[in-house]
């Protein structure tokens, strides 16, 4: 079928790269950028005006794309790239501290800040933080835009952990985060951001902060674990300009991804990881992703906590019903003891029922139109019904209370909270990545025995 695909000129490079992978020179036409947000007359001018790539009128190119005969130069086999594996230099040439700092920055291996250089000695020391072999593959990520499969080992994660300024005791959390293979930075033009939450005993063991100033720059573990995740993401390849990195304004959260621990000891509710099916004594890392977070500057003096949070949630997109509320323990206690919300899910359900917005506001939100309107088209309820409502009809857009996450963090100096559009994406166990203690290793009597288990059993 003759097809004329159209893209804005900003992504002409993507089209060119994509041809190498699919082996088919699609006849793209390019308009000026952007299309989104432009009024009708401007878009008409885009159509009748020139393609920035060729200086020819876009509409002429579109018609030619459908009618001009295919010629021999459009033979697919001339374009296709074959699979290949790149080489990797394990040990860099010895150099001065200053030169190596500059090298790491210029090679795109850092977040722009100075790093702790990963000498062999430092990496060996870091590896004492886990019982896993240095050459064990932790995971593999696939970069869609460049068709790269990137395998990474325990050693690579340890190198990154050194760079971030972490200590060996932080490594299990960093390995668990890496094992999710979720990047902290997304290949999107929008300002995605992430949050990394730790639950379970390891929080106290490694000195994480879940109390006063938990999100402020004053704690080593919170800072370096979050930073390590972004350095991993960078070295997986997610920040190559206009190849894998497109965020028009970026997001400052990516420096340490709001890495924090839940204040389980001061919370009146069950910890987040227990809600997700883990045991209380398991240590777990959880990833959240979204775009926006509203800090709260007041303590609900004139309106109730719920009324305040409803106002904030109305302003967020309610994409797939996701929200994350980060409550100081004072707020959680008040909600339970003064308002009767015995569990986190009770409160999530209340919010789900009580946040109401006009359906026109919902469907005219860009993210909702791009990602959820197709569900309505496919007949999925309630979206299909919502699509047929008049713009001023009220809906409860957070229709899945289990997607409203509640976490308790804070130092109880003020009953405040944060409201975010973050969705919970994955949780991963940390304990399997720990260093084996001598007691653990010998608990079944096998430590120190040779590999051949027939020795001594004749």
């Amino acid at each position: 079928m003759p097809t004329a695909p159209i893209s804005t000129f900003e992504f002409a490079g993507v089209v060119k790269d994509d041809r190498r992978f699919h082996g088919l020179p699609l006849r793209f036409s390019f308009t000026p950028h952007p299309v989104v947000g432009m009024p009708g007359p401007v878009l008409r001018q885009y159509i009748e005006g020139k393609d920035p790539a060729t200086d020819r009128p876009v509409i002429e190119e579109v018609i030619d794309a459908l009618t001009k005969p295919v010629n021999g130069e459009e033979n697919a086999s001339d374009f296709v790239e074959v699979s290949h594996t790149g080489s990797r230099q394990v040990l860099l040439e010895p150099d001065t501290e200053d030169n190596l700092q500059r090298l790491f920055f210029e090679r795109g291996w850092t977040d722009g800040l100075p790093i702790v250089l990963p000498t062999e000695e430092r990496v060996a020391r870091m590896l004492t933080g886990t019982s896993h072999a240095r050459d064990e593959v932790v995971g593999e990520v696939f970069l869609f835009d460049t068709k790269e499969h990137v395998k990474f080992t325990v050693e690579m994660v340890a190198i990154i952990a050194v760079m971030a300024g972490a200590r060996p005791e932080h490594l299990p959390v960093i390995l668990a985060t890496a094992s999710t293979t979720h990047p902290s930075i997304q290949p999107s033009t929008t300002p995605f951001c992430c949050m990394l939450l730790v639950n379970g005993p390891i929080r106290k063991e490694i000195g994480m902060n879940s109390g006063i100033g938990a999100f402020s720059p004053r704690n080593l573990a919170n800072s370096v674990i979050g930073r390590a995740w972004t350095l991993l993401t960078i070295n997986w390849g997610y920040t190559r300009l206009k190849k894998t990195f497109w965020s028009s304004q970026g997001n400052n959260f990516a420096y340490n991804n709001m890495c924090c621990a839940e204040n389980e000891e001061r919370s009146v509710w069950e910890p987040f990881h227990v809600q997700k099916g883990f045991r209380p004594d398991e240590s777990v890392v959880s990833v959240f992703r979204g775009w926006s977070l509203l800090n709260n500057g007041g303590g609900a003096a004139r309106r109730s906590h719920g009324e305040e949070m409803i106002l904030q949630m109305k302003a967020l997109p309610a994409l797939f019903s996701a929200a994350t509320l980060i409550l100081d323990p004072l707020v959680a206690r008040s909600l339970k003891e003064n308002e009767g919300f015995l569990t986190k899910l009770d409160y999530s359900r209340w919010l789900s029922d009580n946040v109401k917005i006009p359906v026109g506001q919902f469907w005219k939100t860009d993210l909702i139109d791009m990602l959820m309107a197709p569900l309505a088209q496919q007949g999925v309820e309630p979206y299909a019904t919502w699509k047929r409502l008049p713009d001023d009809a009220l809906i409860a857009p957070y229709n899945k209370p289990e997607q409203i996450n509640i976490i308790v963090i804070g130092g109880e100096t003020s009953p405040l909270w944060k409201t975010a559009d973050f969705a919970h994406t994955v949780s991963a166990p940390i304990d399997k990545w720990r260093a084996r203690t001598v007691a653990e290793g010998c608990s079944d009597g096998t430590c120190g025995l040779p590999d051949d288990d027939t020795v001594g059993h004749n």
């Binding site: 159209i6 008409r44 150099d95 001065t96 499969h149 395998k151 390849g237 990602l371 496919q378």
Partner: protein, 110 residues
């Protein structure tokens, strides 16, 4: 090693590029060929397919109006791909276009 110099490990991982063609066909590139083109659009049916990116519907509004004004013998049919911007259509849209149309314009990426 001379004093003052440090030897450090590279943070890079092993990368393997695998183009889509090889992924789909176990080593044999899945190369397609370009469909034969129409001799003219006049009298033909052209589907205008909205891929779902912001503003695409407005752009295709303008495209449809342009054809109505300048090439009125071209019949245009509007459709929006039912998969979101990252997913394929979930219905028989492509079959419908092949059965009932002569060509398709897809837009606008970006």
């Amino acid at each position: 090693m001379p004093t003052g110099l440090l030897s450090v490990l590279s943070p890079e991982s092993q990368r393997t590029v695998v183009p889509d063609g090889e992924v789909k066909h176990n080593g044999t590139p899945a190369l397609s060929s370009m469909a034969p083109r129409l001799d003219t659009l006049n009298g033909k049916t052209v589907y205008l397919v909205d891929t779902g990116f912001g503003g695409s519907y407005k752009f295709l509004d303008q495209m449809q109006e342009w054809f109505a004004e300048h090439m009125p013998t071209v019949s245009t049919v509007r459709r929006r791909k039912t998969g979101n911007i990252f997913r394929d259509d979930t219905t028989d849209l492509w079959k419908e276009i092949k059965d009932k149309g002569h060509a398709a314009i897809l837009g606008v990426a970006g």
